[in-house]
Amino acid sequence: MSNKPKGKLALYWAASCGGCEIAVLAIDDKILKVAEAFDIVLWPCAADGKVHDIEKMADQSIDLCLFNGGIRTSEQEYMAQLLRRKSKVLVALGSCANEGCIPGLGNLNTRKEVFDTVYKEGSSTVPENPQDVRPQAETEMPEGTLHLPVFYDTLKTLAQTVDVDYFLPGCPPEAENIWTALVAILEGKLPPKGSVIGVNTTVCDECKRTRHEKKIKKFYRTWQIIPDEETCLLEQGLMCCGIATRAGCGALCPKVNSPCIGCHGGNDGVDDYGARLMSGVASVIDSNDPDEIDQIISEGIPDPVGTFYRFSLASSELRRKKKVAAE
């Protein structure tokens, strides 16, 4: 690492599970080098730091912000805007920030449905919430109006909210990739703005299984068969997403006989990950009979959105399920 003056680093966590934060720590002792190179100005998960300190900083005074998580609330949106303004380089870290990830699957429901599940129907909440109390964005108190963040109907990705400089995909991103990115930034060897930091091939490239021409007559769920360890999982009817998913993980899942679930999202130039994946898979269904095709799909892929958009629903062209009338 160079002897340049220390840079300023911010890490922030919006709608996500927190795994990405752990992934940052998973660079092991290299984290010390990070501390050498950066002053950490904000890292709510690991260090003290106040938002208003950030607000007071001059624009573009943070050198690097690693932002993980999607944008689900007004507070998260505010923070995204704030950190964008204050940072020279804003990196969307991990699947949630990149493409919405699992929290993005909440886009299959409306806010009301989400709240119903959490506050009304959930087995743990039902006995404890007889009055059906719901989060309120505004509460009138004698002292004045209190505000809580508004929970949005739709989860958005970071890039749908603010301009993002670099993307570091994965659920979570591999520690090595995080380190590579940090090194690149520290050394000033930045790829063109908007790049995804990683390779531009798919998981198949790193997968050692043998592949043939593909013809799929039936899809299996993972619990239905024990797949052969040598052959391409998709050819065996397992819905392996590796064909459409950006490499970089070393084909971790297929390596342990489990199909890729697509956490890295698509390659450069792929506009809608799920569409690419379903197009590829549908193309090799081995039938020309519309009824049979329909049957193969409905039996083998009962949850197409969950299958093709497990990580990328929020970043897809359609972004969410159609809302029906007003809430």
């Binding site: 208003h52 007004s74 569409a275 549908a282 039938s287 892929i301 359609l318």
Partner: protein, 163 residues
């Protein structure tokens, strides 16, 4: 809703259905002007992304049209269109997009009338379903802007508190 004129994007294969549309024109068969046609070489070229993009960009419906099964100019590529369409339908269904909004039509170069009827059906189906307005689907309501302003305001107030 009475005056709702849906916007529909049609992806028509160069060899059969685009020519069917040409024939409908030459024969002066009238059909609703709502379908706007994009020519592709084959229905097999139609990528589900096209359909998603059209809907996301404000289309109320989509038509995919190609040669009849077994009559593809490229021998069998319309079967691939059929497979993808089936997958697409399942997905759209799960996304809450009514299945009549996206229709797959087979029309040979000789079937101007058939294509016109299919367009007519699609348009009337979509009219019945009403506007899709997909872009509005992910826009938040007014409370969002208000909430954002509140945060800015409250933080400013908080900053004023003497240390």
């Amino acid at each position: 809703m009475e005056n709702f004129e849906p916007k529909i994007v049609g992806f028509l294969c160069n060899w059969c259905s685009y020519r069917a549309a040409d024939l409908a024109g030459s024969a002066r068969i009238k059909y609703p002007p709502n379908v706007r046609i994009i020519r592709v070489m084959c229905s097999g070229r139609v990528d589900p992304t096209f359909v998603f993009k059209a809907l996301a960009d404000g289309a109320d419906g989509v038509m995919i049209a190609g040669c009849h099964p077994g009559e593809c100019h490229y021998i069998e590529q319309n079967y691939k269109a059929m497979r993808r369409f089936s997958m697409l339908k399942h997905t759209l269904d799960a996304m809450g997009v009514e299945s009549d909004r996206v229709q797959l039509v087979w029309a040979s170069a000789a079937e101007g009338q058939r294509l016109a009827e299919a367009i007519e059906k699609l348009v009337s189906d979509v009219k019945r379903l009403g506007p899709l307005k997909w872009p509005a689907n992910w826009q938040e309501d007014e409370s969002r802007l208000e909430a954002l302003e509140n945060i800015v305001k409250e933080h400013a107030e908080a900053m004023e508190v003497p240390q």
